[in-house]
């Protein structure tokens, strides 16, 4: 198993750092899957996560100048690592003015992802900062746990409002309640509601638009009354984690609601796609 990658371009480094920062805000530990073409940050819906799951995909070519990966075996040319993304975030934080950043899989006292940052210095040779981030190697027999989640059979699919606005609304609501109801219809309308003994607050968004889905998933929505709301009651902190972690406005942001079951968020940037699943509360 070998992995070596190098970033040389400042903009790429910056972008990669922002992606890692977003992941770090969403998961304390997650799985990093490396293939020849892509990197995936995966969180599976364990109880420990509160049932949340995440699937984030990056094309390595958009970030790395050099990328060499040799998986566990020829016919399984992939590497799965368990890692704490916060560590990666910290390592990259002070590397923004680096000449090069190399990331490689090493074996120090335990398997590590070593981030080697070459920084400019006053002397003839560069300053080198290395961060050894301990990782766990996930054996092949467990790889099935980390398959890409399928798009659920949703009732309503709708584009999200401007994330910044949505975030500030949810932030205020968080002070009043632990759960939030997210409901939307096929008329491009979405409501965010909280209800407690003392107060209920609803924020209405209109004209959001509904994304067209080409495959069979539209079947369940074809006969649907466009005014009818699909709703799910979810943990407000999980929603806020997703919204607060976004450092850059995505090119496309939408969510698929399976009434009373789950909300599936999809955030697309140019080189990164992020899917986030929040289960509905009982």
């Amino acid at each position: 198993m070998r992995f070596r990658a190098k970033i040389v371009d400042v903009a790429c480094l910056n972008h990669f750092t922002r992606v890692i920062n977003t992941i770090a805000k969403l998961a304390k530990t997650c799985t990093l899957r490396l293939t020849v073409d892509k990197l995936y940050f995966i969180l599976t819906d364990k109880v420990a996560n509160g049932g949340v799951s995440m699937w984030c995909e990056l094309n390595q070519g958009n970030f790395f100048d050099e990328f060499q990966m040799e998986g566990v075996a020829a016919e399984h040319n992939e590497i799965y690592l368990e890692l704490t993304p916060e560590n990666l975030s910290r390592a990259l934080k002070t590397a923004q003015n680096a000449k090069t950043v190399k990331i490689k899989l090493t074996n120090k006292h335990c398997p590590c992802l070593t981030v080697a940052v070459e920084l400019p210095s006053l002397s003839s040779s560069s300053r080198i900062v290395t961060h050894d981030i301990p990782v766990g190697v996930i054996p092949r027999r467990l790889w099935n746990d980390f398959r890409e989640p399928s798009v659920p059979d949703f009732d309503v699919s709708i584009y999200l409002p401007v994330l910044k606005t949505m975030k500030s609304v949810v932030e205020r609501m968080k002070n009043l309640s632990n759960c939030i109801v997210l409901e939307a219809n096929l008329n491009g309308e979405m409501n965010l509601k909280i209800e407690t003994d003392l107060v209920s607050v609803t924020t209405h968004f209109k004209g959001l638009g509904n994304p067209p889905w080409e495959d069979g998933s539209q079947n369940s929505t074809q006969d649907r009354d466009p005014e009818s709301m699909a709703e799910a009651r979810i943990d407000i902190r999980k929603l806020l984690q997703l919204l607060a972690g976004q450092q850059v406005n995505p090119t496309k942001a939408l969510c698929n609601i399976v009434s009373k079951r789950i909300v599936h968020f999809i955030l697309l940037h140019e080189e990164v796609s992020l899917q986030y699943f929040i289960p509905a509360l009982a």
Binding site: T84, N87, R90, A91, T94, K108, H109, C110, S121, L122, S123, S124, S125, R127, I128, V129, T130, H131, D132, I133, P134
Partner: protein
């Protein structure tokens, strides 16, 4: 005879003075306020006595500085104590908002008030506003660290900005850092206690070229581990004065000193370092060696003081910064407290008088069991 002190800090220097207070605050909740005829020293030591800070402002730093014995004033019948100890919680608010301080305060008067055990800080602000802080002090034995910088075989000097740029790579929670040197290499790396799961902690290492240092002299290869949290205070102060930082150290177990110096202010932070007591067997023999032999300068690798650690480790438990019974390393205290019968001790003088310390009365603390052996060791 009683002494009084009055000084005036001009607006432009307030930031530096404030930064010194902030730096010292990182070490302890209280500090010694130590004026003498040469200037004002602020000193502090942490509760485990593994870190000592001293900032000395020469009289030139002040717009006006006056330290006198005024026989007339002793009519108040109360003698000014030799040294005043102030609580940081009372002083820090005076200098908390440095930016505001710089913008709004024209000068700051400090004077000791013999009558009621107070030190008064008077800030003359814009628009005729005067803020007066009367802070109570309590008497205390003077504080002094026993440490001679000029005896250290390893000396580095680096721009403060550069040192900050290096330390920034360590996460803010990183408590301890190791500096490893040979005559041709230098690196700073994070240190993790063995007890903590190695497989969880991130390890950071910074490799530097000796070229980056203004001065680089290594007499003995060594790796010393010190507390980064305590150093950060000095770094903040050094940046305010744009000074370069000198680092004096020896082998593991011996203290490391970070100091800055310019015409008006000298600051020094002396930190204990972890002692490596791994090689117990080999060190048993060296117990017999005389002090002089072991202190051969420039003999790399031989100057390990493990035996000294094992010797009084049982006595020193109370002074360790934390007890690590399971690991190879224990820390030991390097400081002693002496009650001096006469006057406060200025920073410069300590080197000169340190050789006489063993002859002075020691405070009655059990910890001051440092025998003469140790004294000659450190001094």
């Amino acid at each position: 005879s009683p002494r009084t002190m009055k000084c005036v800090i001009g607006g432009t220097h307030l930031r530096v003075f404030g930064r010194a207070i902030h730096a010292i605050a990182r070490i302890s909740d209280e500090f010694w306020f130590d004026p003498n005829e040469k200037g004002l020293a602020l000193r502090s030591v942490n509760s485990s006595r593994s870190a000592y800070a001293c900032v000395f402002f020469s009289s030139m730093f002040f717009q006006h500085y006056c330290w006198t014995a005024e026989p007339e004033l002793c009519q108040t019948k109360r003698q000014l104590p030799l040294t005043c100890k102030l609580v940081m919680k009372s002083v820090l608010p005076v200098f908390r908002w440095l930016n505001t301080l710089e913008r709004n305060v024209e000068k700051c008067n400090i004077y000791t008030n013999v009558n009621d055990c107070h030190i008064t800080f008077k800030l003359f602000c814009k628009h005729g506003i005067v803020k007066t802080y009367n802070l109570a002090f309590h008497e205390s034995e003077p504080l002094q660290a026993v440490f001679s910088r000029h005896m250290c075989p390893n000396v580095l000097k680096i721009q403060s900005r550069l040192l900050t740029d290096i330390m920034i790579h360590f996460p803010t929670y990183q408590e301890e850092v190791t500096v490893a040197v040979t005559p041709i290499k230098v690196c700073f790396k994070s240190y993790t206690e063995e007890e903590i799961d190695f497989s969880k902690a991130m390890h950071t290492k910074i490799h530097l070229n000796p070229d980056e240092f203004d001065y680089f002299q290594i007499g003995v290869d060594s790796e010393v581990t010190f507390c980064l949290k305590e150093l950060r205070g000095l770094l903040g102060f050094a940046e305010a004065t744009s000074a370069s930082v000198s680092i004096h150290f020896d082998v593991s177990g011996k203290p490391i000193a970070f100091s800055t110096e310019d015409m008006m202010v000298e600051a020094s932070f002396v930190l204990a370092t972890l002692a490596d007591i791994e090689n117990r067997e080999s060190s048993q023999q060296s117990l017999c060696l005389s002090q002089r032999q072991k202190r051969a300068r420039g003999s790399p690798g031989k100057a390990r003081r493990q035996n000294k650690i094992t010797d009084y480790s049982s006595k020193k438990k109370s002074q360790e910064y934390f007890v690590c019974t399971k690991t190879h390393f224990i820390k030991y205290c390097i400081f002693q407290f002496h009650s001096l019968f006469f006057g406060a001790v200025s920073f410069k003088e300590q080197d000169v008088i340190s050789h006489t310390l063993h002859s002075l009365a020691t405070a009655s603390d059990a910890e001051d069991d440092f025998d003469n052996e140790q004294l000659s060791q450190v001094v």
